[in-house]
């Protein structure tokens, strides 16, 4: 049994090609079914996001399966194989584990450490479980990848810190006010930027969003477009500011619309309740000196971008720690994966012993038939236990082997010593995932 990964990602393929190889859009369940019908893979999981399309399979012979998978991608999406081939990457066995663990940890993402990918990997595995294409090997692989994702998130700072300006603004607001649910937001300026920011704030479940614009009609229209927001005329700006916690300024004004003196006057009746001002206008809408007022936190677009850069740099410094976790888990998974190589030999050995036992019992049947039924049952039990005892140590020894060559040597020796059947003739020890009854998820 081998692990094989065939895929394309933002690293290897342009967006035009990625769009055409979108399993998500065509239906992952259909893809899994179509893949199962081809019979080249024993187990399969399809991970499809806007940045990657990857097929994780367990198969008998990686080289042949790889060819078939590329053809499958081509057939399923209706894209010629020649177009796909130059962008495809493929890895086998433990490199598959390493790749998936890095993906789940966010190490392979466009935005380092982004959290969505772990959920997408989980979804991919769920789809495969539902389509009954995930078997013991891929189940183990994917469950380990979830654990890696979780460990990296809790043990390193890879996912910490906002990495976009709007998230940085929301994260700051949370650091100042804690819960945002009781907070009022004012957006000054009804242009495109103002609207976008207002929508983003609204999605943070704040108490109320008010739009203020020099032209009341603009403000009203924007408020209506957002839904659930209200508009206020320019003359009421001071009153609105008095009752607000977060101010976003995004006007096209050439000179500052909020001066230090103006904000000082607003702060007095507020009794120094904190005021968070986000100035995303260019040129700036708020006098920089206003940031010196006690309990006024003033951030402009450059400040927010600087914090984003700092966060990205910090994430980069956490990569080494995350890679260490990935290596550890690849090591553990590798030990388990390699121990599986001995399973066919173990099964053959057991079957051989059991066959001998049955044959001997049958041969001696004429002697045993004179015994009481309980005594016969006892003979059966004793012979069974004898075999179990004899096989205990060899089984443990075989399972603990972690190197393919040694496993091969042992298998060879055991096959000769006990006259085991050749591998091809052995019954399939992997319960074929597709043939198992569906597992209900809670």
């Amino acid at each position: 049994m081998q692990l094989l990964l065939v895929g394309i990602s933002y690293r290897t393929a342009p967006v035009e090609l990625r769009e055409r190889l979108d399993f998500q859009a065509r239906g992952v369940a259909d893809a899994l079914r179509a893949l199962a019908l081809r019979g080249s893979a024993r187990e399969a999981v399809v991970v499809s996001t806007c940045n990657r399309a990857e097929l994780y399979v367990a198969c008998d012979e990686a080289a042949a399966t790889r060819q078939d998978l590329v053809h499958f991608v081509s057939d399923f999406n209706g894209v010629a194989p020649d177009e796909i081939a130059p962008h495809v990457y493929d890895v086998i066995d433990l490199d598959v584990a390493r790749h998936l663990f890095r993906v789940a940890a966010g190490l392979d993402s466009l935005v380092m450490g982004e959290p969505q990918i772990l959920g997408q990997v989980k979804e991919a595995h769920t789809s495969a479980t539902e389509a009954r294409t995930a078997g013991p090997v891929l189940n183990r692989l994917f469950h380990t990848s979830f654990a890696v994702g979780k460990r990296v998130r809790t043990e390193t700072g890879l996912g910490s810190g906002a990495v976009s300006v709007s998230y940085a603004a929301v994260a700051l607001a949370r650091k100042i006010f804690g819960d945002l649910s009781g907070r009022n937001v004012v957006v000054i300026g009804a242009g495109e930027m103002g609207t976008l920011t207002a929508v983003h704030m609204k999605s943070q479940a704040v108490r109320h969003v008010t739009i203020v614009s020099r032209t009341m009609a603009h403000a009203a229209r924007t408020a209506e477009a957002i839904g659930g927001a209200s508009a206020a005329p320019w003359e009421e700006l001071d009153a609105v500011l008095g009752a607000t916690d977060i101010v976003i300024t995004a006007t096209g004004a050439a000179a500052p619309i909020l001066t230090r003196a103006h904000i000082e006057a607003v702060m007095r009746p507020r009794r120094n309740r904190p005021l968070f001002i986000i100035d995303i206008a260019m040129p700036r809408d708020v006098e920089a000196a206003a940031g010196e007022i006690e309990q006024v936190f003033l951030y402009n677009i450059d400040d927010l971008q600087a914090t984003v850069r700092e966060n990205l740099a910090r994430r980069a410094s956490e990569v080494a720690g995350a890679e260490t976790i990935v290596n550890e888990e690849v090591g553990k998974f590798g030990a388990w994966f390699r121990s599986r190589a001995a399973i066919p030999t173990i099964v053959a050995l057991r079957e051989r012993f059991e066959a001998i036992r049955r044959a001997e019992l049958e041969r001696l049947d004429f002697k045993l038939s004179s015994l009481q039924p309980e005594a016969r049952a006892r003979v059966d039990e004793i012979t069974h236990l004898l075999i179990e005892k004899l096989l205990l140590t060899p089984t443990e020894q075989l399972k603990s082997l972690s190197d393919a060559d040694t496993v091969g040597a042992y298998a060879e020796a055991l096959t000769r010593l006990f006259g085991l059947a050749e591998p091809e003739e052995r019954p399939n020890v992997e319960s074929f995932a597709r043939n198992r009854p569906p597992r209900r998820r809670a």
Partner: protein, 274 residues
């Protein structure tokens, strides 16, 4: 006897510092476990002393410090468990270790002075120790508030930004600790005054009772504390001195408390040297 809690407090301090730097949840849980172990062993020590002398050991100078450390550890654990916030631990632990070192290396003899009788005396001491523990927490919360405030103001979102809860939460915790501390400080001082008036009746000859007036440094500084904290409460509600100014005031207030609690009791007070 006080050595074991000291060792455990020190170990908890190391674990909290490690947790604060690395933010490893396993280390965080170990830190809390160590502190709980320290508090339990401390409870045992104080319980043994209580059985030995027949009352909670608060009269000797160093045993009062030990009881104070114990109360502070319990109050901190209460806050940690109700807010699920471990970040403050690294700031409170050094105080526990430093103060616990005094009783650990200089055990005081707990003989009850004849003059210290009646339930009022117990109320006086325990209210004040509890008030001091609250003020200690307020001070630590205030310090963390200022650290976070400075980072946000300076637009350099770094170490503390990633580790501390929101400014709003710190401010609220600080206010709550001050209110609780102020209530117990007030009760403790009033009860102390009533007790002193009674003591003049039955122990007028005791020089310590005679020294119980506003001219005594211990009593004077306690009143100063009360004024500082009263002002802080008033200022936060009436003139908007929340946030950073309240944080500074709670730090100043606690410095006075600590000064009153250790050196003044040891060297200057004539009224409280039992």
């Amino acid at each position: 006897m006080n050595i074991l809690p000291l060792v455990l407090y020190a170990a908890a301090f190391v674990a909290y510092a490690w947790h604060f730097a690395q933010r490893n949840p396993v280390v965080g849980r170990s830190a809390t476990t160590l502190l709980v172990a320290a508090a339990l062993s401390h409870t045992f020590v104080i319980g043994m002393q209580t059985m030995e002398v027949g009352h909670v050991p608060v009269q000797g100078k160093t045993s009062a410090i030990s009881t104070f450390v114990w109360l502070l550890a319990l109050s901190y654990l209460y806050i940690e468990m109700t807010t699920e916030e471990r970040a403050m631990g690294v700031f409170i632990q050094p105080l526990l270790v430093a103060l616990q070192a005094i009783p650990a290396f200089r055990t005081s003899i707990e003989d009850r002075a004849a003059v210290l009788q009646g339930p009022l005396f117990g109320v006086h001491v325990s209210s004040l120790l509890f008030a001091y523990a609250s003020f200690a927490l307020a001070c630590v919360i205030g310090i963390t508030y200022v650290l976070l405030f400075k980072e946000i103001k300076a637009k350099h979102l770094g170490f503390f930004y990633a580790r501390l809860p929101s400014l709003q939460m710190l401010d609220r915790m600080n206010q709550r600790a001050i209110v609780i501390g102020w209530i117990f400080l007030t009760i403790g001082m009033i009860v102390g005054a009533i007790w002193a008036a009674q003591a003049r009746g039955y122990a007028a000859g005791d020089p310590r009772v005679q020294a119980m007036s506003l001219q005594d440094p211990k009593i004077f500084v306690a009143l100063l504390c009360w004024i500082v904290y009263s002002f802080e409460l008033f200022a936060a509600r009436r003139i908007g001195w929340g946030g950073r100014r309240a944080a500074y005031l709670s730090a100043i207030g606690f410095v006075i408390v600590l000064f009153n609690f250790v050196p003044i009791s040891y060297f200057f007070s004539k009224s409280h040297n039992f």
